[in-house]
Symmetry: C2
Subunit: 484 residues, 2 copies
Amino acid sequence: MVGCFSCGTARINVPFGGEEMTTKISADIPQALAALHQLLGERLSRSKYDLDEHGRSESYFPTTPPDAVAYPENTQEVVELVKICAAHGCPVIGYGTGTSLEGHALAVRGGLVVDFSRMRAVRDLRLDDMDVTVEPGLTREALNSELCATGLFFPVDPGANASLGGMAMTRASGTTAVRYGTMRDNVMGMEVVLSDGHVIQTGSRARKSSSGYDLTALMVGSEGTLGLCTALTLKLHAQPEAIAAGVAAFDKFDAAVRAVQDIIQIGLPMARIEFIDEATVRAVNSYSGASFPHKPHLLVEFHGSETAVAEQAREFGEIIADHGALGFEWSARPEDRTSLWAIRHTAYWAILAERPGTRAVVTDVCVPISKLAQAVSETQAELAESLLAAPILGHVGDGNFHAILLFDPNQPAEHEEAKRLSDSMVQRALSLGGTATGEHGVGMGKTNFMLNEHGNAWSVMGTLKMALDPIGIMNPGKLVPPRN
Amino acid sequence: MVGCFSCGTARINVPFGGEEMTTKISADIPQALAALHQLLGERLSRSKYDLDEHGRSESYFPTTPPDAVAYPENTQEVVELVKICAAHGCPVIGYGTGTSLEGHALAVRGGLVVDFSRMRAVRDLRLDDMDVTVEPGLTREALNSELCATGLFFPVDPGANASLGGMAMTRASGTTAVRYGTMRDNVMGMEVVLSDGHVIQTGSRARKSSSGYDLTALMVGSEGTLGLCTALTLKLHAQPEAIAAGVAAFDKFDAAVRAVQDIIQIGLPMARIEFIDEATVRAVNSYSGASFPHKPHLLVEFHGSETAVAEQAREFGEIIADHGALGFEWSARPEDRTSLWAIRHTAYWAILAERPGTRAVVTDVCVPISKLAQAVSETQAELAESLLAAPILGHVGDGNFHAILLFDPNQPAEHEEAKRLSDSMVQRALSLGGTATGEHGVGMGKTNFMLNEHGNAWSVMGTLKMALDPIGIMNPGKLVPPRN
């Protein structure tokens, strides 16, 4: 669709089957904005502040302000604004809290950013069924505050206090995925406004179903390219009766990975199992005055009954001892847990504080666990030859890890080097049977690897996109192959 | 596509966006069969025995023999046969072990049934990663035999010794879904031959990914309407160190459901939690000479360490006692477990044996657990007014239950009554926020409910089908809306 809005014609190539059709669409943004203003009044913003705010990302991508920002208050308004955008060929991009690390919400073809911050109601909380229907702008922390007294919680934890709609659309996960799964596993259904303004309900409130295509799973991780999510139903989980947390240092990272493999093999149910490398430990020590040994560390958490978590922690300690762990401290007391895990909670800030004024390319890859030690050690070797500081940390139970590639924004060469290192990590992950992104999504940063990772299946993604968004207004320029 | 093969023209209606195109396809089955014979030789069968065998179903649908049965031995042969069928407009229907309860593999438009019984290799078993890539004809029991000595197993258990390809394509589950999930949760990726002969690899061997549309989830449960699965990668799980099983009777079914709700709410990890009604107990007693009280029963199983399963069984016993359970027997010794669960393992045969010569409509619905007691009691009331015997049993942790509606095949009125009762169960499940099928799939039996359950989303399923199978050769007549 590149350039199509300037000539008013989109030449739509159907990748599957080789058929081709040309659809005339008007691409008149000013007309779209006039109609949107009529619909939304002051809730259509064109202020410089708003455009800049919604054109920025948490990551290293250039600022790309949209033409306008809409603040709908209900599904019907989203339907109306999508119909206006469809009629005028105006791109529509969903926006939650702006915490994407891959520039998902950037209006790279201009158009309308739809900010869901006025749609954050809990529509229906069903304690008996342990599920909840929420609007997409609600954040995970706000949901968990609402749930605090119910004995239930929503476990998916990507770190940032992201919106639940954004988390669904990027298939987010985080530290607890090893126990509770990702958004793929925890979204039961969605209300979606499609590119022609039709509203569909995907999924069911039944805990399982074999009734038709799994449209929920198709929408989760679709990054707003197939439609806008206006509500979602989430699985809730029992707040654990007890939590035990522990920390262990290792001389070598690969011994830590082998220990975790053994622990998974015997089915010991870890709720979180994180690793951080020496560079991260050094940063944490100098940031917080701690004195952790300058070694790779594993951090573990168990959820269950008091007896169960104690048994699990003891068993974990025995297995890692067999793999050469340098001691293992654990506790089920909240204050001790907090201090044990401080090393993880302060890691990102400690890393950034090491070099004030730096920015970071925060990259994310995921490999089969048997390849994790190799992927990390080869990455560390490559990083050691670079001038950039780049600590590594991640979710060892999933084979998912991140490098925080620090660069001076005033030194373009450093930025280029950070991107080169990130690309190299992705290529290595793919060559080891992994994926270009375990949890951050494709967005602007990973499109270049889609063909390599998916082959023919990437073209099928383009076919599905074409089928559901034939004029290409839903978050164009992302995820699928470019149209001819 | 009804009737299109007779005139040689398919008028293809694109439901989404209202566009319409007419595609000329030849529909020359004899030519297709000649080319297929050239490709497969004796592995293309037209024997009456083979056609009848592949035209029958486990359920009550009329026998509909295909035009031929193919026995491919590798992916490349599947590619070639699909290309031949596409060129001649010949329907292509995948076939595993024929254990579908909804007639998924019936060639209702004629054409070619592709029997995967010669594709049942374990392509790659990766113990370190706890995953395995298999061919679609391998059965779940054969896989578990191969895994026996490894400490791992594949937990999805629909009862029948189904093929893993068939289980994936129908999104099967069964008794262990409450702990290990369904095929949705346990298929990591697939090799799929699309309707134009292209082969795609969906998913990744990484444990999680945010890289693009979830094509694996789109294919799981697609019932062969989007392509043929020629290989699949499955998650494996640790064989539990210990298993405890137990049985409890209740005066009232709704007390049993409330007990299970409480147990789920506190996060007690049940590996199976089944219920059977009084009618099933009576059948089991007279079939096997047992003397279980004529009451609704719960059957539970726990997987974990010896300490954990014992603690869980004790806690389970305490909670159900609070809900009026009439005692609770449990054991972690294999021989005791087997005898405790005999009530469940013999249930289906005991039910059929009550009325020799009968056949059954085995229906399957799933509701939110808060509605399960209501759904079951209303169903029981309706069944009590019918002349048919119809025991109820199911997976209480998922809200999924079955009625086995027995009818005399020589009495058409009984068959009609069984279908009416099944339809009524589905309508009730939908009105309670549930789904028309929790695990059996749509097939021939549930298409009539798709519009009611999915609304606009059913039309979106049709759009996706049209995009990936524009000429409509992949298992036509199933799952999606009929084309105009």
